[in-house]
Amino acid sequence: MTEIYLRLVDLILTPIIMLIAIMLFLRGHDLPGGGFIAGLVFAAAIELSILARGAEATRERYGPWLAPLIGVGLGVAVVAGLIGIYGGGFFRGMWVELYIGASKLKLGTPQLFDLGVMLVVIGMAITYLLRLSEAAEAATRTPTAGEGGQS
């Protein structure tokens, strides 16, 4: 079955990589990062859990959410464009400033669009990775056709 070390790494690293992805997303407007990269990093975190737990278990956990996630992402991206119409035109950048204590948080439609991109990329990339590992697992399983495969 799956390796204990990989499962341990998965347990520790996957949440950290997910956090890195969210951080990359948040800093993306002014600094290197952004929705596309964040989505790929997020998918990398899931790939780690595919390696540790196998594609089947991962599909059971995330599989049903993937296609709707792509739908939500596309929807969010379009809505980000439509909000702009309120400000004069499609995709017009609109900003709100939130004050939490002393720190200022600037939120805007470009970030909302980026969020949509991130969701689409996560959905697409994980679907793709799951298909690949399912095919790879099926290919490695057939020749031995049983337990006892040594590495």
């Binding site: 739908g71 929807g75 379009v78």
Partner: protein, 538 residues
Amino acid sequence: MTLHPTVLALPVALPLIFGALGMLFQSARPPRRVRVQQAFTGIGLGANLVLALVLLIYALNGGRLAYQMGLWPAPFGISVYLDALTAIMLAMVGLLSVVIFPFALATIDAERARAGFFPMMLFLLMGANGAFITGDLFNLYVFYEVLLMSSFVMLTLGGTPSQINGGIRYVVLNLMGSMMLLLAAGITYGTLGTLNMAHIAVRMGQAPYLVQAVIAGLLLIAFGAKAATFPLFFWLPSSYHTPHPVVTAIFSGVLTKVGMYSMFRTFPLFFPWLLNDWQPMLMTVAGLTMVIGVLGAFAQPTIRRLLSFHIISQIGYMVMGLAVAMTPSAFGVGFGLALAILFLMHNQLVKTALLLGGGAVELEMGTGKLNELGGLVKQMPVQATLFLVAAFSLAGFPPTSGFIGKLGLLEVTFSAGQWVIAAVSIVVSLLTTMSMIRLWQYVFWGKPHRAQPLQHGRTPHQATLMTTAPVAILVALSLLIGVAAQPALDMVQVAANQAIDRAGYVQVVNPELTATDLKSLQTPPATSAVQTGADSGG
């Protein structure tokens, strides 16, 4: 009639919204999922057609629109642009997808429907619409990628080995085309410092001839690969016969035509003088595309393989029209382009009709092999008649749209003094007639072979109505263009005049340009042999 420029966001936004809504139900239980997705796709396609027709009426009345995404002013932001040429393409593709929809409802099997065929139709439409309206070279590349991805998914839905094989060839060769487009965009940005098409048009004349030639050559390769011209057509016959027949029909109406449209849009706008300088090369490409396409068709063993070679052959006529677009002739400058646009419309209608008709036969009989078919005229008399009319239209018999398109193209090439290509096109027409009659004879005439069971779940009667009506509508439209030739010619004349009106394009997209910038559009560079005085319109 006035339209707010923001409506230009809709050709992309509408299909995207309905596609996204459909994707939300991808995890629902299969029967409900498919029903909901079919409903969303139906509404989306219908709304898109209404929108496209409104835009078409607006544009044919002389209106042109430009919208700056996010209101960033023209050379910096992404512009989208609408004129009659754009509107005609939007309307044609919108119409085709609505007409194909019932055919898809009747014949798409449960497995493909569950895998998300119907939302994918909308994403394909979004890619095509985006490529039509964009006014930015890099954005054009992006929409090509959208088209490529969604068409790749549609091509491989079902996942048989032949589909994967064809899909890989399709995606690799098309990616190479896209790379060329990206390269052209990069060189354009590096030398001219802009990607906005209006801005490129202003600056192209001042660039060295070598730079112009490199950009034009790369664009020609990129769009040629998309449009399947000689020598870049190999992906088409190796992939078009593999997917579900509906998919082939959609592709033939949309994919190659987007490549052709991009040529119609960019060449007269960026470097109209090159259309004259490079005329011998363009004529060679056109002639070889026609001849090799039609000769290839004779060797094909199945309906769809044969028809996909005819797609290539017919593309040659459009390149021929483009090649004489800027040549002065008895009909005025730009008439060649007008006829090329008319021929493109005709081809979209007729080719889709033939592929749907042939696809219906293939689904009904369980095979598309010519030597296993025969005698279907008794079994499917209506389909056989429609197929014959569409075949005659493809070959160019009166009173069909093919006759008008080919006759016009012949006249304009003769009048431009290009009698070699005119002769080639006549011979190719004859060969097309022979090939289409041979196809019809194999499939519908002769002794009937044993009937195969239906390949889909509907009752024969339901399926017959839903698969015959789309073909009938398309054939009727082809006949309509043939009978009402004058209104159709007026329409494409408006489109062609706007397409070669460079100053008009630039002014609509970027109204703050100075008078000197606009003046640079009127005077051609020194290498040009012909005045681009067509800017004032014919």
